[in-house]
């Protein structure tokens, strides 16, 4: 399981950055997340999200809102 650390701006509806951590680096990813949460605390529209997945593609399938606009999400499958 890899980890993906996203800095997502709710106002814009897109991830500003995606940091990838290799398998077995969960504690490092979590520590980095806590750092970023403190860093962005003054910006309430920022959501720092830590997601675990086998690949980025798997993540896009289950957490599409961080990667696609509402328009793209609504397109018929």
């Amino acid at each position: 399981m890899k980890y993906f650390l996203l800095v997502y701006d709710q106002q814009v509806g897109r991830a500003e950055s995606v940091e990838e951590f290799p398998t077995l680096s969960g504690p490092a990813a979590l520590a980095r997340r806590f750092e970023l949460e403190v860093e962005y605390r003054a910006r309430p529209s920022i959501e720092v999200v830590l997601l675990g997945a086998a690949s980025r593609d798997a993540l896009v399938r289950t957490h599409g809102r961080y990667f696609k606009t509402a328009h793209e999400l609504a397109l018929p499958a």
Partner: protein, 256 residues
């Protein structure tokens, strides 16, 4: 030193239920989290993170072909939920696993049973029969070491609706996920002449259309019938039309 600082210094080991409850009370009573309480909340999330790993490993070992992703709630969503009245020590979705597959309702039931077998003792909450403001899925609640992990099992259509709703919730306020109207409900969505209120109503009809379609597909498999087959075609077309209408209204809008 605040109470939160003191508890953090004293308790490097696992947080007790009463310490979590005291933290929950302080979150509910104050507007701003103290640094000590923020640390306690981080610690609580760390504990859930370890648990998440063990639950995912169980699913992976029994169901290696099943794609699963995990997430830990953000500080803000935990704080918001506590302030809406949920007990912090009883919060069941601090740690979550999500499985989304192209499948019908029977396949969803089978997958839920397989996941339940993989993780052992758990409580199954069928949000298809008891939807939450349009949200449908099946949740498995796994309790280990006095902590919960919530596993969400969604069909692709159930997930598409949930993702649209979450995305609109970012722009129009998360309260829409709990049955309330969007912020500025009469404001026009930029690319269309539709108000947020009306567009949100369209999104809610999508949830009902998905439900009707999924139930019809299952019925068709057990009792094939030409008329029902035609209903399914019409339901698919109706769903596509509504989704196209929503997508069109949201086209070319960076800000909704």
């Amino acid at each position: 030193m605040t109470i939160g600082d003191d508890e953090f210094a004293m308790r490097r080991e696992r947080l007790t239920v009463s310490a979590i409850n005291r933290l929950g009370t302080r979150i509910r009573m104050s507007d701003v989290l103290s640094p000590g309480d923020l640390n306690l909340l981080q610690r609580l999330r760390e504990e859930h993170f370890d648990l998440l790993d063990s639950v995912q490993a169980d699913i992976q070992s029994r169901l290696p072909a099943v794609d699963q992703t995990s997430r830990l709630k953000t500080v803000q969503t935990i704080v918001d939920k506590v302030r809406r009245g949920t007990s912090l020590s009883r919060m069941q979705d601090i740690a979550g696993v999500r499985i989304v597959q192209q499948m019908n309702r029977v396949q969803q039931d089978n997958l839920v049973a397989q996941v339940a077998e993989a993780v052992g003792e758990c409580k199954i909450v069928d949000r298809r029969t008891r939807p939450q403001f349009g949200y449908r899925a099946v949740h498995l609640l796994v309790r280990r070491d006095e902590r919960w992990v919530e596993i969400q099992v969604r069909t692709q259509m159930q997930d598409q609706w949930a993702q649209i709703t979450e995305s609109l919730g970012d722009a129009w306020g998360r309260q829409i996920r709990y049955g309330q109207l969007p912020l500025e409900p009469d404001r026009r969505v930029l690319a269309s002449d539709i108000s947020r209120r009306d567009l949100w109503a369209m999104v809610q009809t999508v949830a009902d259309s998905i439900e009707a379609l999924e139930l019809s597909i299952v019925r068709m498999q057990s009792e094939p019938d030409d008329e029902l087959g035609q209903d399914i075609v019409e339901l698919r077309e109706q769903l596509s039309r509504i989704l196209e209408g929503i997508a069109k209204a949201l086209e070319d809008t960076d800000r909704l």
